[in-house]
Homo-oligomer: 354 residues x 5
């Protein structure tokens, strides 16, 4: 997300609605995949000329046009013209820093939000933008790159008995969003594991690494919250605004997503509280250690500094020091020393420092 | 709750409404208990074939079907089909990580929330999901495991004179929720005891254990809040949405639960503030102790280091050191030492360090 | 409040509406006092049989029935039956942990809230529950124990010229609540005094006691807020809900209470911010003292440790150490020592440590 | 404000509407000043008998009656009777701890809020209560003491060409409030100066004084917020409630005040954040200094303690210590010492402690 | 902004609507630039007499009058009279401390908000006020100084094919606001860079500078939030209030700005959380360093203080000390010393201090 914003300021001065791909180019070529289905038949196709998919527009069957890669401004412009999409919306599609939102038009609804996945190698949350245009008998989805996330969904579509084959484009849209939201839980799981690891680490080690892990987790939670949070409004809008394109009987499915989003947000909040608890524990551990170090120093110094003074006294070269002449002076001194150490140990014991 | 979410991500890709039991399997076998009652008669039964309980559906008397154990997908599927429950709701019932909520349908209302109990051995709050389907003349409740929580309620039903025998299924639902909410108070009591113990501990000991107890309590409060908080919306929905299945004269009972839930939430907030106050006290105690340690070190060092220097001076081997020859040099030095110590004691006294 | 909740969990399993006195028994016997008045006449009476006060119900004059002591379940049950009070309300009356609230019924309005007083001996806020049933020509008030709080109000009723004699039961209710709210200000005054004392203490002493006083005040403010805060909703309900039993011309009086409650809550919030400021000052003082201790140690050690080293050098027994033979070696060394001390003083001065 | 509340509790038990002046008596005598004007004529007068100003009530011209001093209960009672002001409102006027508010009656609107000024000598915000009664052709204002705040406003009224002469009593009310709000900016300016001073102080000195100045500023901001914040609701009420006494064309003027109040509140919030930033800087400075002190101690001790040990070794009196006999033993030892110091310096340099 | 407020208090006592330029005079002369365009023609002009631009008022083409410099009170007064602008609005235009807002009148809409730019030299956000008066066929914009911000917009207007040429004055207003909002992103970019720099700095250095940079960034974020935040309400008002002057088909453009503003605010919030995370890291680093220093001191002192004591013992001059006579006494002592050091190293190792 950070990366794309930097480019955002480069757009200053351009006319609104000018199509400029803002974001990292994650695919070499743009891939257009089509699935066209109704209850009885299904047809899958990879098209090379975008015009090929326009034929499906007037067929009553549901057509899912999936576009991987956002850099082909030309292709997206053509789709915009053919399906009558507002220029500002096209701008949102190719600008990967768009805030999740829903917008309704006469013939279609536009939905944009974030797909999240966890990159185990970099230990980072990867953020991809997914835009959906929902028409009466088609769904166009725009992804930044090819992925395997929707494969199980495609499999379900291929299965003629699945509920999805009896439903319309609004249910397909639901199914897409649902798949993405289900993936959020995988991120949560990863975070929870991290939390538990950190919890254990705090009992064994106490290095700077632990602290940096806590901070990293905190940042991930901030990023996650920011990506998921607008989704709540988005789904609420679907439920409240009574869109013509969404059948009332399907609203319960969107309600289900809504519940999941709320649950994810509540989990994030809980995790944030737990992480901030870990932070407190870390600081207290650091403090406790400091105490222990100080105690060691104090005990050593408090015992030996007075003793050294006593030894120093009898190392003086005064001519007349009667003790030096005593027969048992040296051994008596050892007695005094042992006595002093005993008293100090007793004092430290009482203070609960040992 | 933590455990169940891990499995949630395993559901990715499944068709919505697919019944998969998510959560720990807490019972070996599923137990189905039925109480059927009206003002005059009562009948209790344990059924083995779930079909046996379908007979009660059309009887005018109130039937309470209680199912302990959620792993028997088949059985729950049958209930769903017979009582016409939406597949997504069935999914919620068997998924123990569902967020507390209420949902109204034409013929029934679905309620799901958390039963909490305190496991003294593990010093943990145990979280069990309770789902209720409220129909015009039946209540189906789903628990994760058998428990004794509803025994007093059953006892009241058996008593022909109890108000519950004159009321319908909505009152039974109220009574179930009320029982669960009453149990929350037991958790609160336990936390209050802990709070008082910690308060005392902070005055006597100051070990890491105290700190970890504070943190544990903090986490329990976070968990408790998360479980109870959605219940407020749930009950508010009962009061506001004017469900046909809930008689208006019974609304005052739900209002009573509402007051209790608010009171619990306010108590949790108060406890959280108190716990965070304990945390502050702990940190200040640690700080105060550090001060005390430092003071001991400083006093010892400030007194003896200069004295050792003086002793060192007269331990030097210079050929010409007049003091060494003096008759009372040694005793005079002791006088100087005693004087210095006196001055320093006066200084420490003035600084309020002794 | 803490004490009563412990008993709350003991009620688990009882039928709702079962009358159980929850809370401390603060009175030996229950006292029932009646004042019956209209513009022209007044009659005061202590009744022993509760039935005696039922006669007043149908008289057009205003009757104030005041009951001190909540443990006589029987008596309260009779009042409930005679005045047609809902069992759940009776339960609220005898349960001293009820959350402040207002509830309207056909023939009466139920109000419950907290009377606070300050126990100077225990340095604690004492919390007593006051329940009021407002009927068209009667007011029944339930207190936990006899007190002198309402004596001035009774005095005003006895004075035939007072506005209260021309008004109805709603104005009497207002007058009761107003008296209680006025008493909250006494608590605030006490807290303000405490605040000022603490403010001064922080400048003179810095003991653990100060810190515990700060914490105690913080807790009192939490408790006070919790008791007063629900009163705002309560009074707002009186103003907004257009109760038949409250004359519109009297709404301005309730508005006046509302303003007072808001003012009290704002004061509490201000005090909380001030207390947390005191906390900060305390911590900074502790820190500053630590600094001072460390500075003393560092100055002593930094001056004398090098000097001791020098003295140690010339205490060595090497056969060939030319300095030892010098005529002015010893006095020269003193010169070096004085010079070093001077340099170090200059250094400390520059560092602003002296 | 603090002072008045103490007296508030003394009012406990009095009948509501009883006039008791609560607050400091800031004026010896009460002064009543009248300005009566319309577009063509103006008349200014100081009256001694309050009855003299009643004549103006029925004149169509705008009459501004300004009363300085609130202790003359009698006078204020008479005004109340003559202008038909509710007893509770009169109570609010003479009680200087009233929360800012607006209240509408049939024939007049009552407004009460705080005039603030900065007392440079005591370095305190001075809080004075201003009450306004706005009638159709008169404005009565009550101040705690005589002041010069409204002199420019009077000057404008005397100028026949000024807009105020063409407007009614509602515009006069606006002009009074506007003058008071303009004075809030002077307080803000003072605080901003303080903020800048503190910002500089934190770079040069680091005494306890700085810390106490930060705390004082924090408290002033709390007090300021408390006085200004209710004004927002007050002005919003003027705009929303469609009072008959306020002409619609004048609403834009009240909107202007509203904008100013919002701006002041936003400034206060910004300042609070800045002050809390200063607090953080102070604490970090204290910490940094501690570090520096510790570093000095550690460097001195780490260098000289081992050296002293070495010197101690060769100060021992063992009979057979070969090094003591060496010709260059003493000088070789100096070499070792210099070498050790060099190593330690290198170590400290590497640690970035020098 | 700070600077202008100081002058705000100087306005106390002036009649509302008096035109006084409050703020820094940033231009020597006032420049008036006019662009008049419709779909077919365009005319650009710099006028010297403000009256010259009044001719455009009645032409159906869109006229954009841009005024750079706010100190020419006379000129602005004339515009106010001619275009019928309320005196309070004129006051807002010349007062550079006005809070961002929108106000609708019969013939025009007034919008005022902040243009922000980043001054790289001073490392500060520069705040300029932009006021817009939107009429049916004209837009008057007031800037504090000449700038290049709107050059790309002018270029687009000159291009006959651009959408802006087909649209009315409301679209021009949108385009102006959009340009300003796009510039906010440049500020965000700069802050993000700073954040990343700081993040790296925290790993390498740990000086006071880092801390002051963190604080500076915090302050900038506070300032930025304060400037941008009111814009949200402003744009929401355009969308909700159904202004006649704004065509419905253009609302989507304002919605687009709204999304951007929300996104900026969310970014600011995220950055604030990140900055406060950096603050935590800084404090922990300082703490960790303190620990390291203390550890070094403790290890040195704990090892050498006891050894020095031992050396001191054998430096004593007692007549009868048998060890001194031993043949291998000296070497045996070295053995003891090495042994002690070994034990202590083992102890420190175990404590994980090395």
């Amino acid at each position: 997300m950070m990366k794309t914003k930097r480019k955002m300021s480069e757009k200053i001065g351009l006319s609104p609605g000018t199509l400029v791909h803002v974001g990292q180019r994650k695919e070499e070529t743009t891939r257009v995949r089509i699935i066209d289905y109704d209850q009885d038949s299904i047809r899958e196709e990879d098209v090379t000329r975008i015009e090929d998919c326009f034929l499906f527009k007037d067929k009553p069957s549901v057509t899912w046009i999936n576009i991987d890669g956002l850099h082909d401004i030309d292709l997206i412009g053509k789709i915009g013209t053919y399906f009558d999409v507002h220029p500002l919306i096209l701008e949102d599609i190719v600008h990967t820093g768009t805030r999740p939102k829903i917008e309704a038009f006469d013939t279609h609804i536009f939905i944009v939000f974030k797909m999240l996945s966890f990159d185990k190698d970099k230990d980072e949350i990867v953020n991809e933008q997914l835009s959906i245009i929902l028409g009466s008998n088609f769904v166009i989805s725009f992804q930044e790159r090819q992925g395997t996330v929707f494969n199980p969904l495609r499999e379900r579509i291929r299965n003629a008995k699945n509920r999805i084959r009896k439903k319309h484009s609004d249910y397909l849209t639901y199914a897409i969003i649902d798949t993405v939201v289900d993936n959020y839980f995988a991120i949560l799981d990863n975070m929870e594991e991290k939390l538990e690891q950190l919890d254990e680490m705090l009992f064994t080690s106490m290095s700077k690494d632990t602290f940096h892990s806590i901070n990293k987790l905190k940042r991930k939670l901030i990023a996650l919250r920011r990506a998921v949070s607008p989704l709540r409004e988005l789904i609420t809008a679907v439920q409240d605004k009574d869109f013509e394109l969404v059948e009332e009987t399907n609203l319960i499915f969107f309600k289900d997503i809504h519940d999941h989003v709320i649950q994810i947000l509540e989990s994030i909040d809980t995790y944030r509280e737990l992480v901030s608890g870990l932070h407190d524990i870390f600081l207290t551990n650091v403090n406790t250690r400091m105490n222990e170090i100080m105690k060691t120093l104090t005990i050593t110094a408090t015992i030996f500094i007075p003793l050294t003074f006593i030894a120093g006294i009898y190392g003086m070269n005064f001519k007349y020091m009667p003790e030096l002449e005593w027969r048992w002076g040296y051994f008596g001194l050892w007695g005094v020393i042992v006595g002093l150490v005993g008293i100090m140990f007793y004092f430290f014991k009482k203070k609960d420092w040992l």
